[in-house]
């Protein structure tokens, strides 16, 4: 992912949720909601549409075998190496952005 270009926010959150470990769709939705303090709610078509698309980009992959004790039909997803790289890039970009913002705000105060 080129530096400077931004990632769709809900993609970022989905990747972020998966960075912590493999999850199925419903768990991702819950995770995203708590990660964003309830600010981002993924609705069904958006969530699963995004999962399909991220899979298409090979940023995440579907697990062939399911962890035990879970019902058979749920699909689990895992972050790929590309995905993790994209997420890292985005996190760094956001970090630079917030540093920039903070420095600006501070110089603004000084004046």
């Amino acid at each position: 992912m080129a530096a400077g270009a931004s990632l769709k926010p809900h993609w970022f959150y989905i990747l972020l949720a998966l960075a912590d470990g493999d999850r199925h769709g419903l768990a991702i939705a819950r995770d995203v909601q708590s990660l964003s303090d309830g600010g981002v709610r993924l609705w069904p078509a958006t969530l699963y549409g995004s999962l399909d698309e991220l899979r298409g980009r090979k940023w995440i992959e579907e697990l062939a075998e399911h962890p035990e004790e879970e019902s058979e039909r749920k699909r689990y997803y895992r972050l790929t190496r590309t995905g993790r790289a994209v997420l890292t890039d985005e996190a760094e970009r956001l970090g630079r952005l917030s540093r920039l913002a903070r420095s600006r705000v501070r110089t603004g105060e000084a004046r």
Partner: protein, 888 residues
């Protein structure tokens, strides 16, 4: 609840639904459960969000996805628009006949809709050409107790409103009239208006040159000044930049031009010049005439403005109208001017919408037949891995291309139709209305194009991709009876077309019948061989009533001697002229009125010759005679002191209303509240003064010497074609006084035709649209029957080979087609009775279930259904079994 969401999942793209449907339901259920704890509103919000989420996903699926080539290529989801369009183009070209037919039918439907919408747009949607037109309101007074919707503005009342109102930026009152404008170039009659000085401020316009009137000019005995319109400035003054300060002759007096107003100010009826109203607030009963327009302050509603004016009117009620006879009202300005057209516009818009529906049904049938014929192709494409979405997209592109072609053609044809229509009935088009192609019309055409795509596209699309592939691919042979569902849809389309056509035909025939009834209404006078012309005298050159009386008497006598003229008369208010002069009378021995209201009486002032010139029928007593007028102009003393007995003639309605049905009128008496009793010398038949379809008021004719007017209408009865007398009449007038114009010479028959022109246009437009729908329906039925017969070639061949007779084959083909039509027509007739009820007054008493009309429509539709199916049936019966079986 879950079931509902499952149903909604149909909105989502197919692949998403198939892969994740169950998971999506689970997530939604969790969301809903969480929201329910915080109330119904939150739950409703969740539903809304979920639906919009699904719709977004659907939209995203349509959007071309730019995927980096290095990452991933999916042939099937890549949107190859270019090749799709090329493919669609080729598919459409392959069947040129069907394509041309579809485009023409769509163009027809869209043209009709565009034409009608342009009219509707010009009348209803285009704002008036003033800044912030929605702040403008129409103000007038009504007298509910006297059954008068519009009384007119009394200047002192207006003055009071102007001083006491709080919610208006400004108010104006105006009174349209006509002026004799003369200079070295000759005399002209131009439309003008007397207005109060705030009129530029109310309309929000600035003079092009000069200024508007000052307070000093807008008062009694103010200096004679005039403002001219841009049009007059260009045509009459050659756009002279120094026109301000010039003097012109207006009604025989000199007036100074102080300004030029832009074209938009010529409202509402091509006003060419303005003079100050110069009203006197001290004269309480000056007159009730004219109209007022107000500009409300920003944010004020019409209801508030209405209350404000009524509040300002309170002192007038207290002072001189304790019974509250006259009540001011405020209405949106636009509504006031379009009220007459609303019913007709609605009916015609409905009719063209139905016409478009029929056109779409027809195109759907054509496209469906094509789609059924292409099932094999579609089946093959699906089998080869093309997705259903891709095939649908392909069809969609074809449909959009068809609809676009139809719309472009339709837009052009609609435009031509509008200009033709407007040029045919110029008098009935309100003068402020502009019928141009603006963004709204183009937008409308685009929307109707999209609607047509949906309307005619759904059936073929569904059939193209439904059903299993194998049967489609296997249906290798032409002439097998495949796709029963497709056939059923085709017949439904035909049935629906006939139902809609039946509705349109019934309604339009009812209206044509109503029009016929209106035309044959007895007007109360003899319409043929009558020439009318209005003649205005300049009060500047002839200031006195005596001079007017002398003029009218001389004109009448000399006109009677013109070659080809055998009777002449003059009247203040000619029939069907839009003129009304109401008055109240005290009537001796009048029956008590059940509602306690004193009816308004139409007052006309006529010469003795008028009744003969117009062929008005005498019912009782005698007409006014020359002896009634011989005394010359009656002075106020003559009348009030009873020195001269005044003879009056009343109409039948007057007798019926005041004295009862068979009471008789001659010898009875009536009076104004300021005169002694006047004796009725005769009763005449009612003249349809307000229009052939309007009820007549009680009416009184007073002799011309009672109160001669400066502008009157001359009526001539001719022995030759009436219009041929116009030149000699014009010459006669020039001999008497070259400064007096002859206004609107017209035959009475023209006048009657003009008074019914709006109804005629309305009825015939509807009839034309119904006829078009009917033709389309016949075409549709024929096309479908033909197609199905072709499809059944092999089956029929077998039956013929097995010994079926020609008659059997024909019967089986015709029966299926006609059966559908009969069902359609029956539904259509049932609906049309209800729809015709919506036409209301426009039916002029014709019953909504008029037996003649209903049976005619049924007969015509069923007979044409037989014909439309008969030809294909004959063709079927002639099928050579050997050849048809060999067809492959």
């Amino acid at each position: 609840v879950n079931r509902l969401y499952r149903a909604l999942l149909a909105l989502a793209p197919r692949r998403l639904r198939a892969r994740h449907g169950a998971d999506m339901e689970a997530l939604f259920a969790e969301r809903l459960a969480a929201a329910r704890t915080s109330g119904t509103a939150a739950a409703a919000a969740v539903w809304l969000r979920a639906v919009s989420d699904l719709l977004q996903a659907r939209l995203a699926a349509f959007r071309p996805e730019r995927v980096p080539l290095t990452v991933y290529i999916d042939e099937r989801t890549t949107f190859m628009a270019g090749s799709d369009i090329r493919y669609a183009w080729r598919a459409l070209l392959r069947q040129r006949g069907a394509t041309a037919l579809a485009v023409l039918m769509l163009a027809l439907g869209i043209a009709a809709n565009v034409a009608v919408f342009t009219l509707v747009n010009g009348l209803f949607l285009r704002p008036f050409p003033f800044p912030q037109p929605d702040r403008l309101v129409y103000i007038n007074t009504a007298a509910p107790k006297w059954n008068l919707d519009v009384v007119g503005i009394n200047y002192p009342d207006f003055d009071r409103w102007q001083k006491d109102q709080k919610l208006f930026d400004s108010l104006m009152t105006y009174q349209a009239s006509q002026f004799n404008l003369s200079d070295a170039g000759g005399a002209d009659r131009v439309r003008g208006a007397a207005i109060t000085r705030d009129f530029t401020r109310v309309l929000g316009l600035q003079p092009l040159l000069g200024r508007t009137f000052t307070a000093d000019e807008d008062r009694p005995k103010g200096p004679p000044v005039v403002i001219v319109s841009e049009h007059l400035w260009r045509s009459r003054f050659g756009a002279d930049p120094n026109v301000v300060g010039r003097s012109i002759r207006l009604d025989g007096a000199t007036a100074t031009v102080v300004g030029v107003m832009p074209a938009a100010a010529s409202f509402p009826s091509e006003i060419q010049l303005w003079v100050p109203m110069a009203g006197d607030p001290g004269r309480a009963y000056e007159s009730y005439s004219g109209d007022a327009i107000g500009r409300m302050k920003p944010g004020v509603t019409v209801a508030e403005a209405d209350a404000d004016i009524k509040r300002a009117h309170q002192p007038i009620w207290d002072a001189r109208d304790k019974q509250r006879i006259v009540t001011p009202f405020v209405k949106p300005l636009h509504d006031t001017f379009v009220a007459d057209y609303r019913g007709a516009a609605r009916a015609v818009s409905g009719a063209v919408a139905l016409l478009l529906l029929v056109a779409c049904a027809n195109v759907a049938a054509v496209m469906l037949a094509r789609a059924l014929a292409r099932r094999r192709e579609m089946g093959l494409r699906l089998a080869l891995g093309s997705s259903r979405a891709r095939v649908l997209r392909q069809l969609l592109i074809e449909n959009v291309m068809l609809a676009m072609a139809g719309s472009v053609l339709g837009l052009g044809a609609g435009r031509a139709a509008v200009s033709a229509l407007v040029s045919v009935i110029p008098d009935e088009v309100p003068r402020w209305a502009v019928f141009t192609f603006d963004a709204r019309v183009v937008g409308f055409a685009i929307v109707s194009m999209l609607v047509t795509v949906v309307l005619f596209g759904w059936a073929p699309a569904l059939h193209a991709v439904s059903g299993d592939l194998r049967s489609a691919v296997n249906a290798t042979t032409n002439g097998t009876t495949g796709a029963p569902r497709g056939r059923r849809t085709l017949w439904c389309l035909v049935g629906a077309e006939f139902a809609v056509s039946a509705v349109l035909l019934v309604c339009s025939l009812l209206l044509v019948k109503a029009f016929d009834r209106v035309r044959h209404t007895d007007p109360g006078f003899r319409a043929d061989h009558v020439l009318m012309a209005t003649i205005p005298l300049s009060e500047g050159t002839r200031p006195k009533a005596e001079q007017w009386f002398t003029f009218w008497t001389e004109l009448e006598q000399r006109a009677r001697q013109l070659p080809g003229v055998d009777a002449a008369g003059i009247i203040t208010c000619a029939p069907l002229d839009g003129c009304h002069l109401g008055n109240f009378f005290q009537v001796e021995n009048a029956l008590p009125r059940p509602d306690g209201k004193n009816p308004v009486v139409l007052m006309r002032i006529a010469s003795a010759g008028y009744f003969h010139a117009m062929g008005i029928r005498l019912k009782e007593g005698r007409f006014l005679a020359d002896s009634d007028i011989a005394r010359g102009v009656l002075t106020e003393d003559d009348i009030t002191k009873g020195r001269a007995p005044v003879a009056v003639v009343v109409n039948e309605s007057f007798v019926r209303m005041f004295w009862g049905e068979h009471a008789g009128g001659a010898g009875r008496r009536l009076k104004f509240n300021w005169t002694p009793w006047m004796t009725v010398v005769g009763v005449v038949a009612d003249v349809k003064h307000y229009g052939l379809e309007r009820p007549m008021r009680p009416g009184v004719y007073l002799p011309v010497n009672f109160s001669p007017q400066s502008a009157m209408t001359l009526a001539l009865h001719t022995t030759v074609a009436p219009e041929s007398v116009t030149p000699s009449l014009r010459q006669l007038l020039r001999q008497i006084d070259p400064e007096i114009p002859l206004v609107r010479p017209r035959t009475m028959e023209e006048q009657i035709a003009r008074s019914t022109a709006l109804r005629a246009a309305f009825s015939w437009m509807l009839a034309v649209f119904a006829g078009l729908a009917f033709v389309l329906a016949i075409g549709g039925a024929y096309g479908v029957a033909m197609y199905l017969v072709t499809q059944r070639t092999r089956e029929i061949g077998i039956r013929v080979a097995l010994g079926a007779r020609t008659r059997d084959i024909m019967r089986s083909v015709v029966a299926s087609g006609v059966g559908v039509v009969v069902v359609g027509v029956a539904c259509g007739l049932a609906v049309s009775v209800a729809v015709a009820g919506l036409l209301g007054d426009a039916l002029f008493g014709v019953s909504t279930h008029d037996a003649g009309v209903l049976s005619l429509v049924t007969a015509v539709l069923v007979v044409t259904a037989f014909l439309a199916n008969g030809l294909p049936a004959r063709r079927a019966a002639r099928i050579d079994p050997m050849r048809s079986l060999r067809t492959d």
